[in-house]
Structures are given as structure tokens and as C-alpha cells.
Symmetry: C2
Subunit: 383 residues, 2 copies
């Protein structure tokens, strides 16, 4: 399904109606997100009924379901909650497994449709994968599109584009680059009579990209760099731990975002102060004083200690200054040292990142994962 335009408006009836009408004038199907809750400013439901030119009916089955959910979860009942059981005449509810407000499939005259989904990500994503996908599968006609995203690490957007200049000009499939923090995503999209043909059209371009960019292509589609690292380590039966200063747990949080991470990732230490580096990882006070906490030596000691204490094959350590000001030793904002301890010893990298505090922290964990990934797939390459 081609999605060409998105609009956002506030909780205002007139602008909601205007946005829906504009969207319907340009597309066959309109997906709305949000405004289906119980509060007075949840107006999507009534705006849709208005655009459909129909009234609203309260669905008794939905009310009962809501009452049961609230009773089961021990939550107090308010009359307003029942508003979530209001359905425009002619529309059909999509059950909400992860919340209270159901979604709505609202057919309009002339075969157009509004698919209304609740706002929380944890509620609308399952509906997209379920009822919405099903609806489009049943109503699809004409050409079908497919796309695959190749994910690239350790290389900037300009460099990627300069290596793929000819490929970027292609029209079917198209290749679109997206710069992310420490990653570039290349989305290859083809349209064809059916999905298999579209995927077949994507294959040769994807292979060209892979052969030009080499180890830098670490995964496809939803495969994050942390997932790629965990998979490689899991395949080898190897394990990982972390020691985090400047990222404060962010690297561990990324690694444990992957279900089943515990097969590979044991844990680690968050050592945000010099005292914590000593208490949790035994980094000697003399080293901390001689080099400062943001230093090559401390990064190496942190990685070595995490690897030894958690008895893992590899350990990643991060220490640095994310700002907003230079640290007590005068280490500048964005200066980060990474260390990777492994069976062959400890390697250290020095980086100078730019950007906001959150960007520097994200780039630091990204660079640490890139360091590990590269060690696992291309340990002797220096390009």
C-alpha cells in the first residue's frame, strides 16, 4: 500500500473533520491514530461519524468487555469509560488486546474506508499487524509493493551515496537512503504484479549494495545492530558483558531490548562515578587519578574487569563526557573512549562525537556495538 501523505491536528473537531475530508479526497484508505480514549477531548470517533454522515450507537458487548477488563485489572470504573464503546453506524470494532479503546473499521460510500486506531504505540502496532494488514490483504488490487531495508554501520550517508551513485538513480526498484544516528538505512522498494515478483526485483540491487559496502551492511529491515551482534555471538556460543560510564546503562538497555538476549548477554556494571568504577570493577584509584575517568586506560580496565567478573567471552566498556560542559579534568564534550575485551586482548577506540547529550550517548553505544560487530565479522579489515 502506498502511503503518500500524513497529517497531524490537535483535539479540535473542525480540524479533525477537515483533515479527514482532505485525506479522503486524496486516498482510498485513511488510517487515523489517537483520539479514541474516554476523555472529553477524544474526538476522532465523533469526527468520523460526522464525515460518514451517520449517528453513533453504543455497543453493549463492548461495554461489557470494558467492564470486565477494568474489574480484572482492579481499576475504578467511570461512566466516561463507556464512551469507548461508541461505534459509528456501519462501522466495525477492532478488539484491543493491549488496552481499552477498540479500533474501528469505518466503510464510506464509494468503497473508501477509515481505519481508526488508538494512540498508544503498544496498542496500535498489534492492530496494524492484525486487522489492518488483513483488511488491506482482502481489498488489495493492482500492483503490489514490497521493500527491504539494508542497514549500514561504520560509514556516513555521503560515503554510502558516493559508492552507490548509479544504484541510487534506479527507478524500479528505487533506493532511498536514510541517515540515522551512527547508521545509514537504504530502503529498496519495488512494485510488481505480486509480492514474490516485487521481492525478486529487489534481490539483485540488494546484492549489488551488499557487495559494494561489504561488512558495513549488518542487517535487514528490523534487525538492529544489537540484534546482529547477539545473533553472531549466539551462533558461536559466545557471551558478552558491559561496563558503562557515560551511557549509564543505555548499551545494556539496547542489548536487552532483544527477546532471548540472556543466552548471550550476562549483564555488567554501571559505573557513573570514580567511586563506582573502583567499587564495582576494581579500577584502581591510582589509574583514575593519573589518567582521569575519561581515558584509554580506564576504558581498558573497565572492559577487562567486566569480562573477568562476569566470565564472558567479550566485554564492551564506554567512558566519556556527554556534556553539556567539559568535565573536571577538562575533557571536552563528546570525547568518548571505547574498549573491547576479548579472547585476544583489549582494543581501545577514541571518538569525538558532536551533538546533544542524548545524541552523544546514543552514538557512543552505537560505536561500541559497531566495534564489536566488526571484530566478529571482519577482524582484520581496516577500511
Amino acid at each position: 500500500v502506498r502511503c503518500y501523505r500524513r497529517q497531524t491536528v490537535g483535539d479540535n473537531f473542525d480540524r479533525l473533520v477537515e483533515a479527514l475530508r482532505l485525506a479522503l479526497s486524496r486516498a482510498d484508505a485513511v488510517i487515523t491514530i489517537g483520539g479514541l480514549g474516554p476523555t472529553e477531548d477524544d474526538l476522532t470517533r465523533t469526527a468520523i461519524a460526522h464525515v460518514m454522515g451517520v449517528g453513533m450507537r453504543r455497543d453493549d458487548g463492548l461495554v461489557e468487555g470494558l467492564r470486565a477488563t477494568f474489574a480484572m485489572r482492579g481499576l475504578p470504573w467511570f461512566d466516561a469509560i463507556a464512551r469507548q464503546a461508541d461505534v459509528p453506524e456501519g462501522a466495525r470494532a477492532i478488539p484491543n488486546e493491549f488496552g481499552t479503546a477498540p479500533g474501528l473499521i469505518c466503510p464510506l460510500d464509494g468503497s473508501k474506508v477509515i481505519l481508526a486506531l488508538p494512540g498508544p504505540r503498544g496498542e496500535f502496532l498489534p492492530m496494524v499487524d492484525g486487522a489492518v494488514r488483513e483488511y488491506f490483504a482482502q481489498h488489495a488490487h493492482g500492483e503490489v509493493m514490497a521493500s527491504r531495508t539494508l542497514r549500514v554501520c561504520g560509514m556516513g550517508e555521503s560515503q554510502v551515496e558516493s559508492l552507490l551513485k548509479d544504484v541510487m538513480g534506479s527507478t524500479n526498484p528505487t533506493v532511498a537512503p536514510y541517515a540515522k544516528l551512527g547508521e545509514v538505512h537504504l530502503r529498496v522498494t519495488a512494485s510488481a504484479a505480486n509480492r514474490d515478483l516485487a521481492l525478486e526485483a529487489i534481490r539483485p540491487i540488494a546484492e549489488t549494495i551488499r557487495s559494494r559496502l561489504g561488512w558495513h551492511v549488518f542487517g535487514e529491515d528490523e534487525t538492529t545492530l544489537e540484534a546482529a551482534c547477539l545473533r553472531l555471538l549466539g551462533d558461536r556460543g559466545q557471551t558478552l558483558s558491559v561496563a558503562e560510564s557515560v551511557t549509564g546503562g543505555g548499551l545494556g538497555a539496547r542489548l536487552t531490548s532483544i527477546p532471548g538476549a540472556s543466552r548471550v548477554f550476562a549483564g555488567g556494571a554501571i559505573v557513573y562515578t570514580p567511586g563506582a568504577k573502583e567499587a564495582m570493577l576494581g579500577v584502581p584509584a591510582s589509574v583514575l587519578e593519573a589518567h582521569g575517568p575519561v581515558s584509554e586506560s580506564v576504558a581498558a580496565d573497565m572492559a577487562g574487569a567486566a569480562r573477568a567478573r562476569l566470565k564472558t567471552d567479550f566485554a564492551l566498556a564506554i567512558t566519556g563526557n556527554a556534556g553539556p560542559t567539559a568535565d573536571v579534568d577538562g575533557k571536552p564534550v563528546g570525547l568518548v573512549f571505547l574498549a573491547l575485551a576479548g579472547p585476544a586482548g583489549v582494543a581501545v577506540e577514541k571518538h569525538q562525537f558532536r551533538g546533544l547529550r542524548e545524541d552523544i550517548r546514543m552514538r557512543a553505544s552505537q560505536a561500541a556495538l559497531t566495534m564489536l560487530y566488526r571484530e566478529l565479522v571482519a577482524p582484520n579489515r581496516f577500511d
Copy 2:
């Protein structure tokens, strides 16, 4: 400045032009984000020149600046990079301190304006706080709006609304609730002849909300729950550590997102496997076997050990199952135990969260911070 509508379109010249024209037909100022980079699908600049009906000139000063930035950062130069120095005739560049593509201030006939900003958050946010804010301050006329957001924890959106039914109906100021993961935000907005008068109109409603919701209002505007906890602890000269299983470092990452956190937050342990709980925190194998890693006893032991090892006044521990399947002991998805160790002993909470894996993990760290916050501000309240 009132912002009523937002549009999103892909890297397509015709749709960009259409979106700009539609936006200009409805508003005095249009802010665009993205599409100013060096690649071939960065089309915002040319779309704006087209809508303005002017040509493009390459700004030699900007080219020199770009060359200097690339040289300083040791990055390879590509001819395409210079495209970022193209400026529509009559427009003025906004320097980019955190990246390469400058922003653009593009005046149109009839006193309308397009303010074009680069896509990365770390680049456009500083411009919003700088040149954009300045532009609007110079060109403001008529009423001025001000808003303050009161942030609420430990209470759901329905409950908040039922306690504030009368307040929600107010028209100037308006009060709008936003449900977040484990938080509710109440945005109070007033318009008046000047900013001081608008803020004055907000004050009594904000006070009413605070008195109705009590300790649940933990902060205003950009004050996160982690920031509120760190501030309270800092004021008392107290310190904090963490022990994280299911969140894998996410709680530590939230605490260290706040500049200056090291005054209060020492660090902690990420103990994702039973072996790590033993190695890093000395949780006895007997306890892990008897109760399972997702248990009240293990949470309490984790918190106690983190507090002792890092010599902090408080320690928060989180253990649970974020899914997607029941764990080896059959503990259901969403079951989370929290423990808070402090000078007065260890308290434990049991939670059953719903939602996606990432939501459960976020709700778990949110509930842990709520537990700490409540202990700090209202230790003897049970509402």
C-alpha cells in the same frame, strides 16, 4: 505561536510543493523539517525556491564553512556536499552548529515565511531555540500564548480527569490531558496581551490542579520523573544506585540522561542472568533457585546488595519478565518486582504490566522511579 496543523510527505517534489502551498494557504509561517542534506532526494530547498518563484544561488561563504567543517572532522569531501550551500534568492541561512546543512529563513510575498530546518533532532532543536524563537519574537503581533505542563505520576488518565472535571471545561486557560507511559501530562494554556499576563492566568488553575492531585504532581514542563528524583535526593545530600535485571540498564540510562546526575547517582549492576545476579551482587544461588529470579526475595536482595556495594543511601532494584513468553519458572509476561532499599529498610512492590516488551520495560523503570519519588515526598501516604 499557535500551531494547528502538521503534514508529512516523502522525498517527492510535487507533493512537497503541494504541502508547502497548502500550509501557506492556512498559516502565516511554515516550519519545514528535513530534506536539506546533500543527497539527491533532499528536495526541500528546491521545492521552497519553486513555491517562492525564485532561483537558487550558491553561497560561497557557506561552501567555505562546509569545507572547513569537513577538514576539521577529517571527513572526505564530495562535490554533492556543496549543495547544502544553495540558498533560494532572498532567503537567509541559519548556521548549523551541530551538523552541516544550514537552516533557511525564506520570506514570501505578503509577509508570510517558510523556516526550513534540517532533519536530525540534534540539529533542528538548537535552531528552534535560537533563530526560530528569535524570528517569532521579532514578528509577533496580537495575543501571546503561554503554556505550562504539569506532570503527574502514580495515577491514570481517567482518574486524573475525574478529579479535575470542572477544571477540564475551562476555555482560557485550557487544560488538556496527555496520557504517557506511567504518567499523565496536563497542559495548561492561556493567551493574553503579553507573556506575563498569560502566565498569570495559568497560575490559579495550576494551583488548583496541584492541590487536587497532591504529591502526584511531580514536576512541570521538561522536568522528568528521573530529574525530580535526582533533585530531591541532591537537595538532601543523598545518593542512589540501581540493580537492573529486566530493564537491563534502562533505569540507569534514564537517570544519567540528566546532566550532573553523578552528584547523586553512583551506578549499579546490570544482572540479566542468574549467574550475573550472583557474581555482581552476591544474590545466593539458593534464593534464586527457591524463588526464581523474578521474585520478591531476589528484588529485595538485589536492592540491598547494590546499596551496600555502592554505599548509597537508596537503591532501586527491578526484576521481571518483559516477554514475549512466560519465563523458565512460568512467571507470566509483565510480572515485575521492584525493591527500594533505604535507611529504613527494604520495601517491595509487585506489578503486572501490559503491553509490548518495550512498554513493560519502560513502565517498570517508571514504577521504580514513582516508588522512590513517593518515598521521598509522601512516605506515609497510601492513596
